[in-house]
């Protein structure tokens, strides 16, 4: 029970941070939804990184490494270490500048304005919102499961999930984006130190890792865990496309708008890869250690191998503190709830004249009401569908591919004058159809069996359908890029006035004035 008490104390602490942020806030919409575009460099880095990390980063990755080996780090972490900061550098900085110049608070506001379109923006809002909901549900489920395990069953799943939903709702409701960013920054600092602490403590208890690694190396069946032999070359290549999704997640792109200065992005893009290293390397490594210590677990039983290692190799108090670190990762739904609230109030309420009619204050309260509705809805789903987390896991997997496939749309909007709303619509429709199509193909097939049709094209891996051996994300991203290019060339570009706003002509300085 002691670990559970420590976790409860931690939850009380982060709730207080939200209340503190509320006291520091102003009543304006920009303050509630974007922390007044005033975050400093350290909070910006930590909150942006924390926003991107989910329960999977710490629990799921070690569970996956248990079965597939150390290659999971290259598959998911080192690819993200390059691609995510690169997209923050290319896209995040531009979104920040355009948002500040024109007052945008969401991606859809920018895209509507950039392409002179209304309903296509609404379509993009609907796709993005639908792909975000599973994250919130899975975080509540993860909170319930973690509390139950940490407390040894003393805190049941429903109560644990309820407490997590209530705490997140509380600090988002009161603190808005400022509270969310502060809590995220605190949580990130906690879970970044978690990895190193877990490695040191478990290594100390085991007397080092040499023995466990030698055990794996000497067993022909388990030796492949020490390489990436269990990951095909095409799967490995496919995963380079997945991190393109990061900047397209609404909570990440909205977080990019909160920096006080564009210079704050400098530290973020340089340190981001090192933050990934600090979090993922221990999680993956310990997943492989768990395979050496406790072999034979089936997929689905391994998401808590890290908790198992901690409870077996550290004391109760340390286990509780590290459990709080795990909760920090599991509870990353705060920024998603905040993003959905911002999107609803900006892309729907304000767009359809709600703000004009009722004013800024009502807009903020609409956002808060939406926060309550999302948290309550996510809790109800988490309770009703307990034990069916795999549904949401699958939905998230397809959402990653879907958001990655929307990245070419954003690149076209920012860097290509000639891009059009019809190109964006074609790419978005392709993304939706391909995500639903691959989900359907996934549901009618089974791993290890020949694919029901076109077996030379489609295949079935345990976690996904493959297309010529590649993950669906590859054809989705390439198809999206091709469509936005082709359809844009075939349709009329936005008005010259709009283009002049987004691509102002370079100022020609007469040569006599040049230094």
């Amino acid at each position: 029970m002691i670990p559970a008490i420590i976790v409860f104390a931690y939850l009380a602490g982060i709730f207080y941070i939200g209340i503190f942020a509320f006291r520091r806030g102003k009543a304006s919409g920009e303050d509630f939804f974007l922390a007044g575009r005033g975050l400093g460099p350290t909070v910006f880095l930590l909150s942006l990184f924390g926003t991107n990390m989910t329960a999977f980063s710490i629990l799921g990755s070690s569970g996956m490494a248990y079965h597939r080996g150390i290659g999971v780090f290259g598959l998911m972490a080192s690819s993200s270490a390059l691609v995510i900061p690169l997209t923050i550098y290319l896209i995040g900085t531009r979104l920040w500048a355009i948002g500040k110049r024109f007052g945008h608070m969401t991606q859809v506001q920018f895209l509507r304005d950039r392409w002179d379109c209304g309903h296509i923006g609404t379509f993009l809002f609907a796709i993005s919102a639908a792909m975000l909901v599973p994250y919130i549900v899975i975080a509540v489920m993860g909170g319930g499961v973690t509390m139950e395990r940490i407390s040894g069953g003393a805190v049941p799943y429903a109560a644990g999930g309820g407490v997590v939903a209530l705490v997140v709702m509380g600090y988002v409701f009161f603190g808005g984006m400022r509270g969310t960013a502060w809590v995220n920054a605190f949580q990130t600092a906690l879970f970044l130190s978690f990895g190193a602490a877990a490695i040191v403590l478990i290594a100390g208890d085991l007397g080092g890792f040499d023995g466990e690694m030698a055990k794996l190396a000497g067993d022909p069946k388990r030796a492949p865990l020490l390489s990436r032999e269990r990951i095909s070359e095409r799967e490995f290549l496919s995963f380079m496309f997945i991190p393109l999704s990061s900047i397209m997640f609404p909570h990440v792109s909205i977080m990019c708008l909160t920096a006080k200065k564009v210079g704050h992005f400098r530290k973020t893009v340089v340190l981001y890869p090192l933050c990934i290293l600090a979090l993922w390397a221990p999680a993956v490594y310990l997943g492989v250690i768990a395979a050496a210590r406790n072999p034979g677990l089936a997929p689905g039983q391994t998401d808590d191998v890290l908790l198992w290692l901690l409870s077996n190799h550290t004391g109760v108090v340390v286990s509780g503190v590290l459990g709080a670190g795990i909760m920090a990762c599991v509870m990353s739904s705060d920024s998603q709830i905040m993003a959905l609230s911002t999107m609803f109030t900006q892309d729907v309420f304000a767009y359809y004249k709600g703000k004009e009619r009722f004013g800024d204050r009502v807009q903020v309260w609409t956002g808060r009401a939406f926060v309550v509705a999302i948290a309550a809805g996510a809790y109800a789903i988490a309770i009703a569908l307990r034990g069916k987390a795999s549904i949401f896991d699958i939905a998230i997997r397809f959402a990653f591919s879907g958001f990655a496939a929307l990245a070419p749309v954003m690149l076209a909007a920012l860097f290509w004058r000639r891009s059009t709303k019809w190109g964006a619509l074609a790419a978005s429709a392709w993304t939706l159809a391909a995500a639903l199509g691959s989900w359907w193909l996934f549901s009618i097939s089974a791993p290890g069996k020949p694919f029901p049709f076109l077996p030379e094209v489609f295949g079935r891996a345990p976690g996904n359908v493959t297309v010529w051996g590649f993950q669906p994300v590859v054809p989705m991203v390439l198809g999206s890029a091709l469509l936005v290019w082709l359809v844009s060339l075939l349709t009329r570009p936005p008005s010259p006035a709009t283009l002049a706003r987004y691509f102002p002509p370079a100022v020609n300085v007469p040569t006599s004035f040049q230094g």
Binding site: G74, A81, K100, R101, S227
Partner: protein, 70 residues
């Protein structure tokens, strides 16, 4: 300079595909698998690549937005 940076970035992207280490289960120092060590070093290389972009290809024109509105 920007062309050199773009070329360097392409090289870094290609270096991620470490097919030559795919089946290498060698343990460095007795506890660290070679493939994991490679990708840990790769994240360091990614940080250096980002530092180079920030140093030599920073979009300075965006800094105009830092100034408060008149």
């Amino acid at each position: 300079m920007k062309r050199a940076l773009a070329g360097g970035l392409v090289l870094v992207i290609l270096l991620h595909q470490d097919f030559w280490l795919a089946k290498n289960a060698t343990l460095l120092f007795g506890f660290l698998p070679a493939g994991l060590a490679y990708h840990m070093a790769y994240t360091g290389l990614a940080a250096l690549a980002m530092a180079a972009l920030v140093r030599w290809a920073w979009p300075r024109e965006l800094e105009d937005e830092d100034r408060p509105a008149p």
